[in-house]
Amino acid sequence: MNKLMDLAAAMAQIPDGAMVGLGGNTLNRAPMAAVMALAYQGKQGLRLVKTAGGMDVDLLCFAGCVSSVDAGFISYETQYSLCQHYRSAVQAGKVQANEHACYTVISALRAASYGIPFMPVRGLVESDLVAANEYFAKVKDPFSGDILNAVRAIQPDVSIVHVHMADARGNAVIEGPQYDDILLSRASKTVILTAERIVGDGYFAASSRKADIPHFMVSAVVHAPRGAAPGACYGVHGVSDDELHSFLALADAEALTQWLTRRHVYA
């Protein structure tokens, strides 16, 4: 089955209110082209899931697309500093920040992947996060009777992952660091891929490097070269300093719309 489509059509599959997992890590291989298309399409009420987000989460918060963010860390890292739009949206009560440890996002995704409703977790021994969030609870080890923490499963409706290579059916390879993307693909109901390069149907069968994401988990494949820009894509390009600064300098929603429109026209 040929799942190739353009970015707009793929993003149109995602309804308002969807829980959306985002691949990559901070400015590394985040699915930025897809994120910009979501913003351009004016999605509402997205519930974002990521271990460590950056510009992806910030941009979607800026564009007013987001109702909640489940993550361990949201920042551009040191060089490009804080996610001011995320921060403002949370402080204004527009976005609910569900703070996890990065590991409890991983644990929650594992639970979804394993079809179980929760995952026991070490850690969180003394932390206000446990009492503050309904997705943490205490569970009793049925063998020893000991009490430990548990996190509720997180099953995104869809995850968007930017990959280096995909075939038209959705078999895909990520080169270099994979971050939590393979797990995200398993935990989610479906996966939308943006890919630097589309390879032929026989490519992976003939290669000793097999696809990391098998086709039957994937509902759409988008050819999106530089689909992680202005962030970096391992082995392909680094960050685009100018583009990042042009985004960070945007004054308001109107400026963002113009910025997105300009990029959309050029896409």
Binding site: N28, F73, Y179, A232
Partner: protein, 238 residues
Amino acid sequence: MLRPCDMMAVCMARLIRDGETVFHGVSSHLPLVAVLLAKQTHAPQAVHLNIPGGVDPQRPTLEAFTSAGGTLLETAQAQFPLSEVFDLSMRGGLDVAFLSGVQFDNRGGVNASVIGDYRKPKVRLPGGAGSAVLIPTAKRAIIWRTKHDRRTFCETLDFLTARGNVSDIITPLCHFKMYAGELILHSIHPNVTIAEIAENTGFPIRYLAQTTTPPPTEEELAALRDIDPLDYRNLEFR
């Protein structure tokens, strides 16, 4: 001129013992440089773990925008990504985790979450990343923080992201150590006075002895320039 970033990197590196498993995360150029420094000097067998999963990267090219990029994997020996590093800590196998935060109390508590109320925060912070699970499970959590003021080192945290096995806190002014459940002054960096530290710390400064942090050696400084020629260890001070 001794720069705080050099003093901090050296101070952090010296805390790593040979053979230990050591992890740092995102926004962590200083610990990244510190781990590489330790491995190049006194701790060649320390095991460098990171988010992209590169175990013991060999002379990696550092990148300004991230401390979790692919260059840490491409020169590595083995792959062992974030989820597995966390697992290692959860089962008791991680010796050192480098973490940061925004507020610290004198009992080893860390706040990286919010200023004000959790649900209606005055300031939403980036979040604790691995802190809430690593601080209680790693054998030692070493904190670095490039700000040292009374809002950072305070009597009462707005929110407790994690408490547990914090062993050391390194700032531009000094090196704190946990001792019998209390954060005490361990050593004062060169050219800093104890009055300056007291003035910038929101809880009473206590110590067993007034000592000065040994300044970086020539060998350490040369190694720093070699490891980090573009001076990313200073990013947080720019």
